[in-house]
Every structure is written in C-alpha cells, then in structure tokens.
Symmetry: C2
DNA sequence: GTTCCTGCAAAAGCTTTGCAGAAGA
DNA sequence: TCTTCTGCAAAGCTTTTGCAGGAAC
C-alpha cells in the first residue's frame, strides 16, 4: 500500500488510535519529510504551527506509531533515534561527514542464513556508515 | 588473525596504546565473554578483581579500543551499547524475549547494491530482532 | 620529570514517567 | 460523564567531560 496521508489515517482508525490534531501533524510531517528526522527536528518544525506543542507529545505519538508498525525506529546513531515512515525493508547509509542518511534497496531475505531457520524474525535492520559521494568529492 | 590475548596486545603496541592493567583486563574479559556485554556487565565483573575500578575507565578503554578497530560497538538496543571483540562481518540477532544476542554468518558484501557504488563504506551492520528457538519453544 | 592513565564528581543529553488539566465523543 | 490526549515538570539512564591525583618509564 502506498504511503499516503489517507491510507495511514485509515490504518490508525483500524487500529483504534485516536486521530488527534497533533498525531496527524506528526504523520503528515513524516510523509513529507523522508529524511529520517529526529524528535528534535519534528518538534521544532511542528511547533511553528502548534505553539503549545510539547516534546512529550512527539515522543508519545512516535511510540504509538511505532507500536502500530506505521513508523520504523532507526537506531543508526548512538545518541538519538530517527524515524522512517517507510516500513518496507531497505538499508540505511549514514554519511559520517555530513550526517545525511540515505536509503538504499537491499534484498535482506535472500541473505538470511540457514542458521536462523529456527528463529522468528520480526525486525530486520541494515545500517552502513561511511562517506557519501558528495563528501568524497569535496574531500570532507 | 585469530582473536587471542597475545595478538591483540601486539595490535595495541603497534598502535601506541598503553597496556595498562585495566585495559588488558577489559580486553581479556571481551575475549572470554563473547556475549556482547554492556559497560555495566564489564564493570560489575571486573570490579571484583579491581575494587578501585571506575566506570569511566571502562568507557575510556572501550572508546580507545573501538577507535583502534579492535572492538566493534553494537547499537542493537536503544538504551545501552554492547561491545564485540569480533570485528569481522557478521550479523546479530536479538531475542526480544530473553534478551540474548546471537551471532550469525552473513555475506554482506554480496548484497551491496549498485546504488552504493559511489559511496565509501566504512562500517556495515546487520541487526535482526525476534524470538530465539528456546523462547519460541517455551512459548515466552 | 614528563607523559599518560585512572577515577571521582558533575554535567550533558535523550527519553520516560507522573500527574493535572483540556479536549473529545 | 467518561475516556483519551496533551503538556509541564521532574526523574531516569547512559555516556561524556573536567580535573586532580597517581602510575609508569
């Protein structure tokens, strides 16, 4: 299913998650900003629209969305979590110079070894780090 | 090269890292406990031998070892980091029931897509989560 | 004697929790 | 009205930093 505002709203309704103004704004932000934002980034941006907004609400909302599998938590950094509205399998590459995070396609399932045949896999993450083409070119 | 105490000591010397008693103890612990321990676990255990030991020293040592590529930091959990003396490519599976972390072989390089041909990859991580056979069997 | 290392205390930073008030059905 | 949601303040935790004393060579 496509990642559209309407589809995700349907998903929330189906899972009995209230569609508060704040929650819909977080969802909207994640759909429009596919840059794997941090809580800080989401908060700072949405606060412009909702002056009374609290960071706790962002945390609450993201936890609920993650529990409902509508959002994926990306722990590619040590300090703070990032969030991705795209929950389909794909890899993440973090540039250690500019800090940007890139998506890349990867067929994870084809890699799963025989060793894991008796394990129940619920979550798959592939994180790479290094230098992106732009930073390599600029010798950063 | 095999992961032996002597080999790693040679590596430290080669990289001009002092071989203090505390650092060697941390190294020794990591070699003998391939369970991807946390700072807390390492600290608690080594404190029995070194009553004056400080957690800061553990953090310092692990940072130095990681910077020297003698240890790999595993960020499979949100809260606290884990450390692995095995720096060769392999995947990690965390059981969400019992908390154990399992190693599994994986040929990461064969998966790298064309999209990343212009990226310089310094670090590769594959983290899975789910239920291990033991927990599945016991219906935990 | 000079350099490096340790370890205490405090600070920093992200995230969670408790709780009272507001919003919504 | 009753439930759910928000948001402030405080707490919790891991990790980092500053700094003084100690060890090593």
């Amino acid at each position: 299913m496509d990642i559209t505002f309407e589809n995700l709203k349907q998903e929330l309704k189906k899972k009995n998650i209230g569609l508060s103004y704040q929650r819909l704004k977080v969802l909207e932000y994640l759909i429009q900003n596919r840059c794997h934002p941090t809580v800080e980034q989401i908060f700072t941006e949405l606060q412009k629209d909702i002056p009374t907004l609290s960071k706790t609400t962002i945390y609450n909302t993201l936890r609920i969305l993650a529990e409902a599998d509508l959002v994926k938590v990306i722990n590619i950094e040590e300090k703070e979590a990032r969030y991705d509205i795209d929950t389909k399998d794909h890899g993440h590459f973090k540039c250690e110079s500019c800090g940007a995070i890139f998506d890349f396609p990867i067929d994870i399932d084809s890699l799963i070894p025989e060793d894991l045949s008796k394990f129940k896999i619920n979550d798959k993450n592939v994180y790479f780090k290094g230098l992106c083409p732009g930073c390599l070119y600029n010798n950063n």
